[in-house]
Subunit: 407 residues, 2 copies
């Protein structure tokens, strides 16, 4: 008998019929003898509807009261799913975040989980009930309702699994697992049976939006085995687990990419302490998120060149800010390009294998793809190329590292 936490997103519970399908699936697990806790999101569209209603009253909405309103979305789903389970002879009980209780900090609309009280849930499980928990929500120490931000239900599920020392946390989505890369770009992309937390973090943050990144961090921190699988089809999905649990490790697990990037360069900046802060401070103040940052010695060696990337939507704003900064710093020039893409190869295996980078660069060179920027981390190598080469580059790397073949 295992203790399983399952999470179903808004699409999986988006209609009466789908909720009944989820109930059938949950019941099958329970009938096998497992204890099951189900974490659910609001029905698809519901959170947007509630936010729209709130904004019609006050815009921007009061954050505390917005949480009071948004939390009702998941509260409706837990009631409906508990009823659906009850209706097919599977005893169950629903819990709001406050009832669990999921204790968070007081940062409304983007709260972080501090602690989870699991005693009530354990008692219900021991009594043979399925427990249905509202994702995305919690309460702070004063009892105010909080929400965790978009995608927070994944984090709720992992946190509940950690608190209960569950054997596995299953995240049901509309894809059947994590792929070596996006199958829409490389049709030979292969579903991975396993991936490590670190790899998943790099893959997720680079655009493989299967899981909310905080939930992966959380699962890694508390060593909760996490599985991504389809709520529509049967299948084992992809297990995300600790590196030491992997039997054999491929050198490269996958290729992530991000479109819609833009890069900005400020040339001929005096090479002295505090330069990076002077350049990026105003960008951050404007709430523009910066991704890659690269600094090079310039030709004259008394100055430096500084390049960073932002989302394409922020390009014009960032460019204007950077031009002001350049003027204030007496920098030589500001250049930019908003037609670039970032491609990364990810794998814990590269730690112990030399020559991965050169193999990557060779594969790109062979296709005549010019590399505009390079950045590396311990388990990832990222390159920036002209956007038009994105698909070609992904497919070239997928072949070069033989990702279509089972490891």
């Amino acid at each position: 008998m295992a203790l399983i936490v399952q999470k179903y997103g808004g699409t999986s519970v988006g209609s009466v019929e789908r909720i009944q399908n989820v109930a059938q699936r949950v019941k099958r697990w329970r009938d096998q003898g497992d204890q099951v806790v189900v974490v659910v999101s609001a029905m698809s569209g519901e959170t947007d509807r509630l936010i729209g209603l709130a904004k019609a009253i006050q815009n921007p909405p009061n954050p505390r009261e917005l949480d009071v309103i948004m939390a009702t979305g998941e509260q409706v789903t837990i009631g409906l799913l508990a009823m659906a389970l009850d209706g097919i002879g599977c005893p169950s009980r629903s819990y709001t975040g406050g009832q669990v209780q999921v204790l968070t900090d007081s940062a409304h609309n983007k709260a972080r989980i501090r602690d989870i009280e699991g005693a009530n849930i354990r008692a219900d499980l021991d009594a043979g009930r399925v427990v249905v928990v509202a994702g995305f929500q919690g309460v702070d120490e004063q009892g105010n309702i909080t929400t965790l931000g978009r995608g927070g239900s994944d984090t709720s599920a992992v946190a509940v699994a950690a608190a209960l020392s569950a054997d596995e946390c299953q995240i049901y989505t509309d894809v059947d697992g994590v792929y070596t890369t996006d199958p829409r770009v490389e049709p030979r992309a292969r579903k991975l049976d396993r991936i490590t937390f670190e790899e998943m973090l790099e893959m997720a943050s680079l655009g493989s939006k299967v899981l909310q990144i905080r939930s992966v961090e959380f699962a890694g921190k508390y060593k909760v085995p996490l599985r991504v699988l389809s709520s529509l089809e049967e299948g084992e999905g992809t297990l995300i687990s600790l590196e030491e649990d992997a039997v054999e490790q491929a050198v490269i697990s996958g290729i992530a990419f991000a479109r819609d990037e833009a890069k900005l360069t400020i040339l001929g900046v005096p090479d002295q302490p505090g330069v990076a802060y002077k350049i990026l401070g105003p960008i951050a103040d404007a709430n523009i998120e910066v991704d890659m940052i690269i600094q090079n010695i310039a030709a004259d060696e008394a100055t430096t060149d500084f390049t960073f990337t932002v989302h394409r939507n922020d390009y014009q704003r960032a460019l204007a800010i950077l031009k002001d900064t350049a003027e204030a710093m007496a920098a030589r020039q500001v250049t930019g390009d908003d037609r670039i893409a970032k491609i990364s190869i990810v794998g814990v295996g590269m730690r112990s294998h030399a020559g991965i980078a050169s193999k990557m660069f060779a594969a790109l060179a062979k296709e005549g793809i010019n590399i505009r920027m390079i950045s590396t981390s311990e388990i990832k190598i990222s390159v920036v190329v002209d956007e038009k080469y994105l698909e070609l580059a992904v497919r070239a790397l997928h072949s070069a590292f033989e990702l279509d073949k089972t490891a």
Copy 2:
């Protein structure tokens, strides 16, 4: 500085614009220096929508889970109203039933309030905030969400007012107060400035559906001055208060009536102990509510005639049950009439005034209206007449007791 509890029903908060109107009204009271607690219902139509959703999953719905779902209706309204207040510079904070907390028994869908913890609310009021409380809902001792049944928000408001020792509990509705009778039947009906709790109870239970009857009982028990007034127009409304507070008391305060009644009579029943139970037991078992009950000695003095009234919708079922009973008891005959109406004159003044009943009967006789049944209580006299005489009887009594004239 007074402490006022205001309650707004579903129609008063039925749209974004109406919620903003309520906020303006609340702010005016607060700007006068009053402390204000606002109790709200779900937006009109919302509770029915949620019940519909629940029933699409399970019918009848699991009562505990139905409460989880229904309670979200008021939770959305409190967030929206708190935002609307915040938006016009009136600091406020919302509370769910669980946050207050409104402690109830565990009778899901029809819970009764046991206790209210008012400390949080008092602290917010002292900090200059308007407090917005979700009506209709509470929590039981185990922390399960409960609801009070239809119209429960009135009871929530009175209970909060009692817990805070509020100076007044104001129930805002779509009428501007309590009338001597229904103005649609008697255009000369007059709004009452005051009425006692007892009179209001008799009026409410007889069809003047301005207030939920439990809220009036509650207000009377805890001596909370209750005021019914319009959320659309300005005005003093009607104050419902203790008899001793009334300066001068009219003999009769109002005329209540109920259409859609039916009466059933069983003739020639053996006059012996237990007869009433034998007749009404099967009716109650079928969940048919019985209103008036009258027993008379029959002509032969060894048997008795027994008459009672039910809602017209239950007439055919009740008749079938009564025929079975009559057969089993060897009663002589069963008769019935489903075209009757009940008219009552109500007033605490009749306690100390003789001749009220004869004045009533004379007024009806003068119009040629035959009285089919009579029943009296301490502050009420009810008669049953043929339904076709209803309007005529109401107007005749309204004139006879000079209800169109200020007391």
